[in-house]
């Protein structure tokens, strides 16, 4: 188990390294950021000074080394527009995003798992079918459409909730719901099939034949086993939360990290984009690592080192 | 006369990683550890042994599907290369293999007659018309009539599938056919048909067989010579009648005695082997069979016995047999 975790950890570090190198490569191999930021008719000396300031005219490999040195020192570059440190810009927006992401995550888990378990237990009834169709609708509907529809109905049509900005907590309701519904749908579907598969196993029939109360069978036997494959999906959910935040924050003008990413991309503010990239990569790697740890904790087969190869294909 | 196939001191060792606590140990798996035999044209050599004794690896080495760690294989006096280049591919016309699982060996999306023709297509022999004709003729002679030609593998019975695989292997008229457990997956009654077919083909086409099986009854029926393998070594080689009536090596004795026979009376004296077969990973000096041999002596633990000829037709690899012609425990009544 330890060996397994150490490998995963190293792999995570490798991923981070790759992401950063990737960022660096395309960062420096594209057009001239100076022209982009300073506009084409700025005086050439100004452009040159700009380039020197950003270190854009040293040979490529030197820039690569300097790049990593900078990162190690905590220097993530400066936002080309604001002139403030890029990472600070990013960090100060994190709480805003978290205030959407965390409730959305919790909501996703609750809705998704309960819907999935319920559907599995009441298989082939109309509720099951209804939930399935709902969940399919959930993941085929893009979050921006969902968000806009919700705004149309609840803000414009009914006037109950505000449509944008982050002034009060009511402003958070629609974004959170939008963010959670798509993921909940996927989770519900997945939980349902995991539960169904587990419930079809012989040990469940044995438990119920032993005379155990059905509820206990479900809670103590079925669900923990179904949790195992579901865990991997939760790892993906973190990723989709991040991607979802990008869109949702733009729809609702929520001043979070996602919105910052969109504007930075539009403005080609490369230092900020890069910092965001690093942040996202770190989050993903940590999330996956935690899933692996939980996996090992829950699934005794992994603990004993038998399934040490992990579930990758 | 030069034998069609000569195998000399063939060894195949695999590097494996054995988990050991925190790290992994590199170990040597000696799948085949120094075997030699000859096979003459039109003859059948049966190769028997338990699972894991190296039979399939031997087959793959003979055909050049795997590279040997040591030793060589000579086919028609030419060494068999293990490199999959154009020369190797051209050699396929002369040597082919038939497998245990006919369904797995066939492409389930193509009908059987096109699969039987495919070798001709691969080697660019003949034109479309002659290829089809050859395939048709061959299939008919193997008991696969016209209604079956356009069927798919899963639409045929096990016996029919194996015939298809055979036809595909034979259409190039190879001089050597390696059969790796060709009838093990079939019902007993079908086995007999396929065996008859194999013998018939051998008479007509003069194909030599390397017949690998763990089923002694079958091997006995088809072979001109039988070689018994244990953990990568050949321990005894003899014509079937002699081997089955009077096995000399302790392992052969145990094998032969384990075959139930209709003619045995109650309470047969069985040679039951003690212990488990040792792992092919472990290194030990001396005879590979020492852990389970009821007659093991000091010398058996030191020096590995060589396969030595006793008569013009028999060879045994055992210290005790080369010194004296028979072993203390007389073998069982014969399986006549």
């Amino acid at each position: 188990m330890m060996r397994f975790l150490v490998i995963r950890f190293l792999r995570g570090l490798l991923t981070l390294f790759l992401v950063l190198s990737f960022a660096f490569l395309i960062l420096r191999s594209t057009g001239d950021p100076a022209m982009l930021i300073m506009s084409a008719d700025a005086p050439p000396e100004a452009l040159e000074a700009f380039r020197k300031g950003w270190g854009l005219d040293a040979p490529l490999w030197q820039q690569y080394v300097g790049y990593f040195k900078n990162l190690a020192q905590g220097n993530f570059g400066y936002s080309m527009r604001d002139k403030s440190p890029a990472m600070d810009l990013v960090l100060e927006r994190i709480p805003a995003t978290l205030s959407l992401a965390l409730p959305a995550f919790a909501l996703k888990l609750m809705m998704g798992i309960s819907a999935g378990v319920y559907a599995a237990l009441h298989r082939n009834t109309w509720i099951d079918r209804f939930l399935i169709s709902l969940s399919i609708a959930g993941y085929t509907m893009p979050s921006f459409v969902l968000g806009l529809m919700l705004v149309l109905v609840f803000a414009v049509g009914l006037g109950w909730l505000p449509s944008g900005g982050d002034a009060t907590w009511q402003h958070a309701i629609l974004p959170v719901i939008t963010l959670s519904l798509g993921g909940a749908a996927v989770l519900a579907r997945f939980t349902r099939s995991a539960m169904l598969e587990v419930m079809g196993q012989s040990y469940i029939r044995t438990a119920s034949a032993k005379g155990l109360v059905w509820r206990r069978v479900v809670l103590h036997h079925a669900m923990p086993n179904a949790a195992i494959p579901t865990l991997t999906v939760i790892g993906f959910m973190v990723g989709s939360l991040i991607a979802g935040a990008v869109v949702v924050e733009s729809v609702f003008s929520w001043p979070g990290v996602g919105r910052l990413l969109v504007t930075s991309v539009a403005n080609r503010d490369l230092a900020v984009v890069q910092s965001l990239l690093l942040l996202v990569a770190t989050t993903m790697v940590s999330a996956n690592l935690m899933v692996d740890i939980l996996y090992g904790w829950i699934d005794p087969r992994v603990r004993s080192g038998q399934a040490g190869q992990g579930k990758k294909a | 006369m030069t034998p069609l196939l000569q195998v000399q001191e063939l060894r195949k060792h695999f590097q494996v990683s054995v988990p050991e606590g925190w790290r992994q140990r590199k170990a040597n798996l000696r799948a085949v550890d120094g075997i030699s035999f000859d096979l003459h044209a039109g003859q059948t050599l049966g190769l028997v042994g338990e699972s894991g004794c190296g039979k399939t690896t031997t087959a793959r080495l003979v055909l050049g599907l795997t590279e040997a760690t040591h030793g060589q294989v000579l086919f028609n006096g030419q060494p068999v290369a293990a490199k999959r280049d154009a020369t190797w591919r051209a050699q396929r016309q002369n040597m082919q293999m038939v497998y245990q699982n006919p369904l797995g060996a066939l492409d389930r999306r193509l009908n059987v007659i096109s699969q039987v023709q495919e070798p001709l297509l691969i080697h660019g022999l003949g034109d479309a018309l002659s290829r089809t004709e050859q395939a048709q003729d061959l299939m008919v002679s193997m008991g696969l009539p016209k209604p079956l030609w356009h069927r798919y593998p899963h639409e045929l019975s096990g016996g029919q599938r194996q015939r298809v695989v055979l036809a595909r292997a034979l259409i190039l008229k190879p001089s050597l056919l390696v059969c790796d457990e060709p009838v093990s997956a079939l019902d007993v009654s079908i086995q007999a048909q396929v065996i008859n077919l194999l013998q018939d083909v051998q008479e007509r086409m003069g194909v030599a067989y390397l017949f690998i099986s763990h089923d002694l009854k079958v091997v006995r029926q088809v072979s001109d010579q039988v070689a018994v393998m244990y953990l990568g070594h050949i321990v005894e080689q003899a014509p079937p009648q002699q081997l089955f009536s009077e096995p000399l090596h302790p392992y052969s004795q145990a094998l032969v005695s384990s075959v139930p026979s209709l003619w045995q009376r109650s309470n047969p004296k069985r040679h039951i082997l003690q212990g488990d077969p040792p792992s092919p990973l472990s290194l030990q000096s001396g005879c590979v069979f020492q852990n389970r041999c009821p007659h093991a002596q000091a010398i058996c633990r030191e020096v590995p016995p060589r396969l030595t000829p006793l008569t013009s037709e028999r060879q045994v690899a055992c210290h005790l047999v080369s010194e004296q012609a028979v072993l203390p425990d007389a073998p069982l009544e014969s399986l006549a």
Partner: protein
Amino acid sequence: MNTPSLPDQSQTAAPPSLAQSAIQLIRSMPLLVRLCSLWIVVVLGIALLADFISPYSYSQLDLLARLRPPAFWGGSSDHWLGTDELGRDVLSRLFHSVRISLLVAFISTMLSATVGVLMGFAAAHFRGWVEQLVLTLVDFQASMPFMIIALAVLAFFGNTLVLFIALMGFYGWERSARIARGLTIAANEQGYASAVYDLGASPWRVYLRHILPNIASTLIVSVTLTFPEVILLESGLSFLGLGVQPPMTSLGNMVGYGREYLQSAPWILLAPSLFIVVTTFSVSMLGDWLRDLLDPTLN
């Protein structure tokens, strides 16, 4: 010859014609799947015939007729779906957006399937470090949300249409790669592929004539499931203003530009939104059904 042969009975029945198979297939679909297939056909028709069925050019301005509502909502029948903020006909723009969005999705899906299959084959064929490299790349791709990768690339490279399609072409390649690699390894180790190699076939022949046809059905299912996701991705990026750029129009594009007029002229974004949702739903449904049909064990 003493092997018994069957008497020469009637021939096996001739295989059914293509038309007969198609009809049989349609009959076996449940109602919902049939409706979805119908929608897909409609959408394809729109994409192909956009030029012919659009009443106006999609970029034709008419500043005197700005923000007119659709015909069924109080507007005139000049513009069935109303006009946008520059007086352009929403219906025509819709048709063209469908074409662009589908084009992008189609090309990208083909690209990603091709790249994925080639990588999968390479990994399975060469094993060793090639396989490790491919697996690391697959891991990398699967571990980051694609939207983020896409945004980063767009930031650095800009978004001409060609570049954008190439970028979308990287979505989902890892699924095809995994499938191709897994099935090829199985075929090579114990199956039909190794048998054909032993016959002396060259690797080209084995891959093209044997392995590819055998894995095709699994790949097709995976592709039908990737396709709607590409549509969603492209429309999301276009919505954010980072995807298809004006003067070209895509479904997401329309929603993005229509967003400012959510209150005053909601029809601008309602029609494309509807199309996005129904189309993705239909393709997903069809893909699900196909999967159940071709390989029930895959679930």
